[in-house]
Symmetry: C2
Subunit: 236 residues, 2 copies
Amino acid sequence: MDQALPLYLGIQRELEARIRSGEWRPGHRVPGEHELLGHYGCSRMTVNRALSNLAAAGLIVRRRRSGSFVAPPRAEETVLAINDLKAEVEARGQAYRPDIRMRRERPATATDALRLGVAPGTPILALTLLHLADGEPHALEERLINLRVVPAAREVSFRDLPPGSWLLQHVPWTEAEHSIRAVRADARIAGLLRRRPGLACLVIDRRTLRAGAAIACARLTYPGDRHSFSSRLGPP
Amino acid sequence: MDQALPLYLGIQRELEARIRSGEWRPGHRVPGEHELLGHYGCSRMTVNRALSNLAAAGLIVRRRRSGSFVAPPRAEETVLAINDLKAEVEARGQAYRPDIRMRRERPATATDALRLGVAPGTPILALTLLHLADGEPHALEERLINLRVVPAAREVSFRDLPPGSWLLQHVPWTEAEHSIRAVRADARIAGLLRRRPGLACLVIDRRTLRAGAAIACARLTYPGDRHSFSSRLGPP
DNA sequence: TGTGCCATTATGTCTAGACATAATCAACCA
DNA sequence: TGGTTGATTATGTCTAGACATAATGGCACA
């Protein structure tokens, strides 16, 4: 009963099941290509593809002359999908509106330079804006854009499309750095978010680069009483 | 000057560069297999591999009869590598010691059942422990283990190997759920972490499952003044 | 007793074909 | 005009070979 499942995928899943179930523990020797092609009666390219995919997924380690072995368990990883904020709010069924509180074009100060990772004096665009969901502050964004890399940002109002979404659509990035931490809202942050000072907030710092050059950075501050990030990992 | 770079990888990188640089925008038609094999003078399997890899990486979308196209930009994703805490502390060059503050075997209460996702009454092991780095509280862990799935946990002291590391090594998981948020430390949490109440803390809830059955869940509370999670995404 | 070299082995890459499948377009017939 | 059919096209999978490469172990030679 061939249910149109490609042969290489069938082999791949069968091996994967044995590893995930714990039947084959880390370090266990996986049958080699010759054993598998004998078992399944297919060509070497086909079992090679199955094994290569498992190796690419980090489930096995392949070594010449020795064979393939179940890889040690990988460190647990959380994948946080951070959509742009417009999509994030609209996904919750709320009306989105950005509220630009500050917009300034200037040479990078020492602080800017440190945050963005450019030389002081580099022309930048600094923005502070509130992301409103049904009129209520959803998050505060403090953004710096490197105008040397993205001069076109000078001409954009960001009144409809927030800078995160705009950049995502106009400037491809190759690397991104993130850091997530918890802080207490100081008076300024609390005022902007219309909360009491001292509220615990989730702060995400993101810096995107292309070919080593900093494109932009953003600090997103979410009121902790309103927000959490969730994710689910594993085979769908 | 062939620097031993496999042909398929060379093609793959060349195409990838054009996409990442923005030269080919989303929706742009990527040269098909026949065009590429004419250009590179290699067989179809080789260019197919390059294109398949790009499709697997989400950079292009392949459609029969139509061709291959640059994929729309993916939503930004943050990958948080959450190592087990012992490794996390030792990576910082500090001495790690777990301090078990509570350990109780009991049928799941209504609260437990909700957190872990099992039926009330299911036998569980509840643990509260402090992860100490050089004697200072690094994080608080409140863990529930489903003894129906992992009965062996009954016999483990967790005094050397904390439960997170033990489970990682002994029970393979297939799915994991995470949620990250910021909260203010209440009196109990603050006392355990030896901080002032009201401190902003990062709270990570993690639930691991195998084949739909809950294995364990953990709530990790990090004092916000000591900790942040970082990650870097992109080609190595 | 080393030490360098060679044969063995398993994986890594690649070729030149093959048939299958899905989507699309155009021609055809009602 | 509208729906059906068939040809075309690009991708998807697969085969049976090939040579390359890295690691290992043993053998021979000094």
